[in-house]
Amino acid sequence: MSSDSIFIYSDQFTRYHFGNNHPFNQIRVKLTFDLLSSIDALSPNQIVKPRIATDTELALIHDPNYIKAVKDAGSGILPEERALNYGLGTEDTPIFQGMHDASALLVGATLTAVDYVMGGKAPHALSLGGGLHHGFRGKASGFCIYNDSAVAIKYIQQHYNARILYVDTDAHHGDGVQWSFYDDPNVCTLSIHETGRYLFPGTGNVTERGSGKGYGYCFNIPVDAFTEDESWLHAYSTAFHEIVEYFRPDVILTQNGVDSHYYDPLTHLSATMKIYREIPKLAHKLAHEYCEGRWIAVGGGGYDIWRVVPRAWSFIWLEMTDQKQKGYGEIPEKWRRLWQEKAPITLPDTWDDPENLYPSIPRKLEITEKNANTVLNALYPIRNYRK
């Protein structure tokens, strides 16, 4: 096995683009790529170009009629009424020219990562273009057209016959992936997200635990609005440790949405960069302890694309390649000069957030206590089983 982890990258990722006023913008991957380059953390032999997913691969999860509809929409020949039935042409997923190819490339990127890791060519792989966890079998939803993570999991089952632990730390519930494997005991899903009481997609309740043979292989930890770092990390660390020990996967796939940050415009969790150092650190450690290192990480949400996403995603790569020391102190002037002009806000000048990033939150004690209870409740079947 080569010791080098790989970074899947193409400047074509930005073709997945819903328009300038849309919060989802794949320029994030380029911003991260440039930031990592500016600290000499990416060498050319670590960068791998993605392939495009084939229709057969997409059909591992998606309905062929839906794939056809996405193709037609991208060529401008899908009637509006039919488009809406597939969730296309909405505010969340507007139709754009060439949307099939752009979406299939993101899926192909994650499949490329899978082949490197499962084929023993790299210990870990990072596919930041992926993580589109809201995509459904026959419907686009929540900025996602094809669900790269769900396709990748089915692909791993088919080609490598492995048991997969999927860990989703996006602020939104990983519904598309969860429902794809809801009755499958060989895929275990864990999603930690802001409660769906108000936030999209509304699902991801603790009581969603899987069905049939898959019962007990689906875990949801909906944390309260204004959770903050400490309580969030307690939930993450407790759940991840216990679930990996219980399920004993062959490979870990992590979805790294970075929209729980205080700056994120769509959510209300009030986390800081601190959790984005810790998330990949634990995934890395547990992948070595349980899966001989096999760890595939994908991107996901993240709507403060200038201040939060590039730093948070860089931490994943720095963790993966044991270069964490490069992610402290000041952000290189070089990167800030390169992008400041295009950014509508001031780019961050340090890797960590300033102390007192936001005013202190009342009722912290109650929120922390409630989250700890939610964790207990989510892990109840495991603890019951261990007795």
């Binding site: 969340d92 936030l199 999209f200 997609p201 415009p265 209300h268 912290k364």
Partner: protein, 214 residues
């Protein structure tokens, strides 16, 4: 939505002459809690629940004294005055009946014959569907003055954003001069809409005040 649309057609039944043992077997086999008792023309003559069976069973503290209780005919333990529904009842009427009589299941009759059954679980499942909580959506609560046309005004603001509404609930506020409109809307990014609603001076219940939702 009417009962006919949510009731189960495939019903497990017994006759008054069947025994407690028969009932126990069926309750276990089908994992159910109620068995309607019908006569030869499918008219409902009684109902037996798992509780009726338990009440009729000897205490576990007394061994072997009443082992022949299993042979007791259901006619002796069934509830005879059965509350039934019609296939044309509204779902919310059925919910009111469940609540009012504290029952767990409602057999449905047409022309004096049993044609379906609705349980508490079916009803809850239907309510989940009616609220739209099972579909990907964001949830917004809006406090509006209790007067004509408010729903239309708010819906119009939503329409301008080209966002599809998954479900709407209207319920009274604690303060009777107001009502709460609950919308589930099919978008992951309600920020623009919330800004529009705030600009139009609506009071939004959404997590934007640290520590508490007003």
């Amino acid at each position: 939505m009417i009962i006919e649309e949510i009731m189960k057609h495939d019903i497990v039944t017994l006759k008054p002459g069947n025994t407690i043992e028969d009932a126990i077997e069926l309750l276990h086999k089908h994992k159910i809690r109620h068995i309607p008792i019908i006569n030869d023309s499918r008219k409902i003559v009684g109902i037996v629940s798992d509780r009726d069976i338990r009440d009729a069973s000897p205490s576990i503290l007394f061994n072997n004294e009443h082992s022949n209780y299993l042979e007791t005919q259901l006619i002796n333990i069934m509830t005879k005055n059965v509350i039934t529904g019609s296939p044309l009842d509204f779902v919310e009427e059925a919910a009111a009946i469940f609540y009012e009589y504290k029952i767990g299941c409602l057999p449905v009759e047409r022309d004096g014959k049993l044609i379906g059954i609705v349980t508490e679980t079916d009803l809850l499942h239907t309510l989940v569907q009616l609220t739209g909580a099972h579909q990907p959506s964001s949830h917004i609560e809006i406090k509006v003055p209790n007067r004509t046309g408010m729903l239309a005004e708010v819906a119009n603001i939503i329409k301008k954003r080209n966002v599809n509404i998954t479900s709407v609930l209207v319920y009274p506020d604690k303060d009777e001069r107001y009502k709460i409109l609950v919308f589930r809307i099919q978008t992951m990014n309600p920020t623009g809409l919330i800004a529009d609603l705030k600009a139009a001076d609506y009071i939004i219940k959404f997590p934007d005040i640290p520590g508490g939702l007003t």
